[in-house]
């Protein structure tokens, strides 16, 4: 394999990892605070639709991004209301959100655009453009490093860089700030937080809110960065893969980066090599498409070792008598 092919695959790895990474970090905030969120998928989907729709209607991708984040946060609020305020079952609330998003997006899309549940293709200012980093073109001639800088590091949309910067930022928030300490504590032992005079409900809503923002960005990136418009169920299980990556990463930000890059890489390989000819027979394209999902199962089943989730994850907090 030559350098150009390798760079192409890695480049597409970065693009495909971005929504996973954002969703994974979203889940990380939520689950670290003790709220399991299986609704990452639904929130991304909703954000993907509203960002594409608003971008198509206004021609501004930034307004689209805001709309995406807002729609995702509405769903987050719903999840919070169900699982924090009313102490409902977090899995059921999350599943409900996923179904709600699948149905609502197509319904509204059909009503607004009459294109069979999709938005019009986004053009010009309706999409996030690729950013060329300084000197990318000048340095292109430098052997090896030049192409790496030009093709791999430079030339992504702003949201890709945002996602990557979120990794150290998340780490810093979790482990270096007071808020982070409270957040981690409330996911482990909310009673300790409560007796320390802090608000369990407030902290959990804050975490769920952050989760909503990040899912919103992830969804917006899908529809306005990675692709040019919304199509039905375009998240294609990325929310679940992000959850898998989160477990694989043991709820840690840097590990999350690694896990998401790995899953993104699998998707990139599947996209690049649609049919692999092994002489005797050809690996069918369906298998290659299924590969990332199969490997998700395999990795989760066999390779993660002991992953200890936040102790109070999934358990609504009830003050004991």
């Amino acid at each position: 394999m030559d350098l150009a092919t390798a760079l192409q695959i890695l480049d597409s790895t970065v693009r495909l990892s971005t929504p996973l990474l954002l969703a994974c970090l979203a889940g990380l905030f939520s689950e670290r605070a003790g709220i399991f969120d299986i609704g990452l998928e639904g929130k991304m989907l909703m954000a993907a639709f509203f960002s594409a729709a608003v971008a198509a209607l206004t021609g501004s991708v930034w307004l689209g991004l805001l709309a995406g984040i807002a729609s995702s946060m509405v769903l987050s609020g719903l999840h919070g209301l169900a699982s924090i305020t009313f102490r409902g079952d977090q899995l059921i609330s999350g599943v409900a959100i996923n179904f709600l998003a699948i149905g609502l997006t197509v319904l509204i899309a059909q009503d607004w655009f009459q294109q069979g549940g999709r938005t019009p293709s986004l053009i010009g200012g309706g999409r996030f453009q690729e950013i060329t980093l300084p000197f990318a073109d000048t340095l292109q001639g430098v052997p090896i490093l030049g192409p790496i800088y030009h093709d791999l590091i430079s030339g992504h949309s702003i949201l890709v860089y945002v996602a990557l910067l979120m990794v150290p930022l998340t780490w810093w928030i979790l482990f270096r700030t007071r808020f982070g300490l409270h957040l981690r504590a409330v996911g482990e032992n909310p009673a300790a937080v409560d007796t320390a005079g802090l608000s369990v409900v407030g902290l959990r809503f804050a975490a769920v809110g952050i989760c909503g923002i990040l899912c919103g960005i992830a969804g917006a990136y899908l529809a306005t960065g990675l692709q040019a418009g919304f199509v039905k169920e375009m998240t294609a299980g990325r929310g679940y893969i992000a959850l898998a990556a989160l477990i694989f990463a043991k709820w840690r930000p840097w590990y999350a980066l690694g896990a998401c890059l790995l899953f993104g890489f699998l998707q990139a390989v599947a996209l690049r090599y649609q049919n692999i000819d092994l002489g005797a027979f050809t690996v069918p394209v369906q298998f290659m498409d299924a590969l990332p999902y199969i490997l998700t199962v395999v990795i989760l089943a066999g390779f993660i070792g002991k992953a200890v989730p936040p102790k109070s994850g999934g358990v609504p907090y009830v003050k004991e008598r």
Partner: protein, 509 residues
């Protein structure tokens, strides 16, 4: 004259129809240790939860240092200088000591300066009160005694002048409890006010200056500790005379029922939990196993109860039992005449959400008398349970109540009734009176002795040395997976047993 550190006036609190606190008034003078004693469910914890802002009182007033104070939440309690050490610690297990101390009392939005400050202050507190601790140890890596110390440090770090301890010795070994009392003594010397909630009379007598007795939500008396006696307090608590010693005749041991030889257990982490146990329990005797929790007693009960595999030989009535194969489970053990009252009734003895009658048949639901065809004979089980509840004085005697709605003592009676009434040859019983009130302790002890007098063998595991001393006919002390020695209760004392429990033998010492 100094104002009381805490004064409660006419505090009342009801949970639905249950009046948990009825018109309670109490004065606690600064620099004293004030005990609050009462049976489980007497309303001690509710009262303290009101003081700490967990519950809102329906009526009544709180005065702190003579000033009327409203405490709507924990934050307000902390601000008023009140610190609370709960029975079940409120610590984040995968945080360090330092992080737990700082939680909720940080200086600013950044963590590092707060941690630095806390580290410094912790060193000072350690010096001032003799509370040494490693600030970087993780909570799940230190023992319960140390964890409790962290809770105390948390309160002191928040500048608490009033410290409330809720059943602080429930989870501690005798040595750890002594250490705690030394710390409390020191805190009192430094002018802190301490409220100690307990149902153990000895602790009240040992350390408190004054003591209030609660019974069924009411404060029945407040007396100077020096002017009262355990018997008087017990009577005030229960409302009638209590037998503090177990009344029993000398044992009349018969043939060996349980014979254990070279029993070894290696746990999933590869740690050897039992390192060659040899024991014999004869018919008509109680063998008490003393020891600090975690020295292999639980594993021993689990092996004998049939839910942990082991190597070695175990014979019951002379016949060897299977320790690893498919006949090594609770059901086959029961078929051999072994009944088991597990150490933790809430997780091993009962299903808390199930009703009493369902719980009262577990393990014996294969009995034809409990079945009709393929179905369970619910009517028969319920009738059977009602009889058991009556004979074992379970209150309320309603087979349809969920296990969790009974008090600790009554839950234990349900388990005990289930196991004893099957007339086993061997009864395994772990921590029979942990978290059980005095009235029920007396009853449970009587039932165990009665079974012994009926010629059955009993293996008793308890971390309460008092219980071991008064119930057992022979005492074996376990330490680090071994039996350190056997003693007769009349020929030993707590000091000797305490040394054995710490792994010290005469030859080694």
């Amino acid at each position: 004259m100094t104002a009381p550190a805490i004064e409660l006036k006419g505090i009342s609190k009801a949970f639905g129809p249950v009046q948990a606190n009825k018109d309670i008034s109490i004065r606690v003078m600064p620099g004293t240790i004030h005990g609050i004693i009462g049976e489980n469910g007497a309303g001690k914890s509710t009262l303290m939860s009101i003081l700490y802002g967990f519950y809102k009182a329906d009526a009544g007033e709180i005065f702190i240092n003579g000033k009327k104070t409203v405490i709507p939440d924990s934050q307000a309690a902390i601000a008023a200088g009140i610190g609370m050490v709960f029975q079940h610690f409120k610590l984040v297990e995968n945080f360090t000591v330092l992080e737990n101390v700082v939680l909720g009392a940080e200086e600013g939005a950044m963590l590092m300066p707060s941690l630095r400050k806390a580290r410094k202050e912790l060193t000072e507190l350690a010096k001032e009160y003799g509370l040494k601790i490693d600030p970087d140890a993780r909570i799940d890596e230190i023992g319960v005694g140390m964890q409790q110390r962290v809770e105390i440090l948390k309160a002191l770090y928040r500048q608490a002048d009033i410290l409330i301890l809720d059943e602080p010795t429930g989870v501690l070994t005798p040595a750890e409890a002594d250490q705690l009392f030394r710390i409390l003594d020191r805190l009192r010397e430094e002018g802190k006010t301490i409220i100690l909630i307990t149902h153990k009379l000895r602790e009240i007598m040992d350390i408190t200056d004054t003591v209030s007795v609660m019974r069924r939500g009411e404060m029945t008396a407040t007396v100077k500790t020096s002017e009262t006696s355990p018997a008087e307090l017990a009577e005030l608590m229960v409302g009638r005379k209590v037998l503090l010693r177990v009344d029993k005749t000398a044992a009349n041991p018969g043939k060996p029922v349980l014979e254990v030889e070279g029993l070894r257990v290696v746990d999933s982490q590869g740690v050897e939990r039992l390192r060659g146990i040899d024991l014999t329990v004869r018919a008509g005797e109680i063998l008490g196993i003393a020891g600090v929790a975690g020295n292999g007693q639980s594993e021993l009960l689990e092996v004998l109860g049939g839910y942990r595999t082991a190597t070695g030989t175990v014979r019951v009535n002379g016949e060897e039992i299977d320790l690893t194969g498919k006949h090594s489970d609770g059901r086959s053990r029961r078929a051999r005449g072994i009944a088991h009252v597990p150490e933790d009734r809430q997780s091993e003895g009962l299903i808390m959400d199930f009703m009493a009658w369902e719980n009262a048949v577990f393990g014996y639901h294969h009995d034809p008398a409990m079945q009709s065809g393929l179905l369970m004979n619910n009517a028969a089980i319920k009738a059977d349970t009602a009889g058991k509840m009556e004979r074992f004085d379970v209150r309320p005697p309603n087979p349809r109540l969920q296990a969790k709605s009974f008090s600790g003592g009554n839950q234990q009676k349900i388990v005990l009734a289930r196991e004893i009434e099957r007339n086993p040859d061997l009864l395994l019983v772990g921590q029979p009176t942990r978290g059980v009130d005095i009235g029920a302790i007396e009853f449970i002890h009587q039932q165990i002795v009665r079974l012994r007098d009926a010629g059955k063998a009993i293996l008793l595991v308890s971390v309460e040395l008092d219980e071991i001393m008064s119930l057992s006919d022979r005492i074996a002390v376990m330490f680090d997976g071994r039996v350190m020695g056997e003693r007769l209760p009349g020929e030993t004392d707590e000091k000797e047993l305490g040394l054995l429990m710490a792994g010290v033998t005469e030859t080694a010492a």
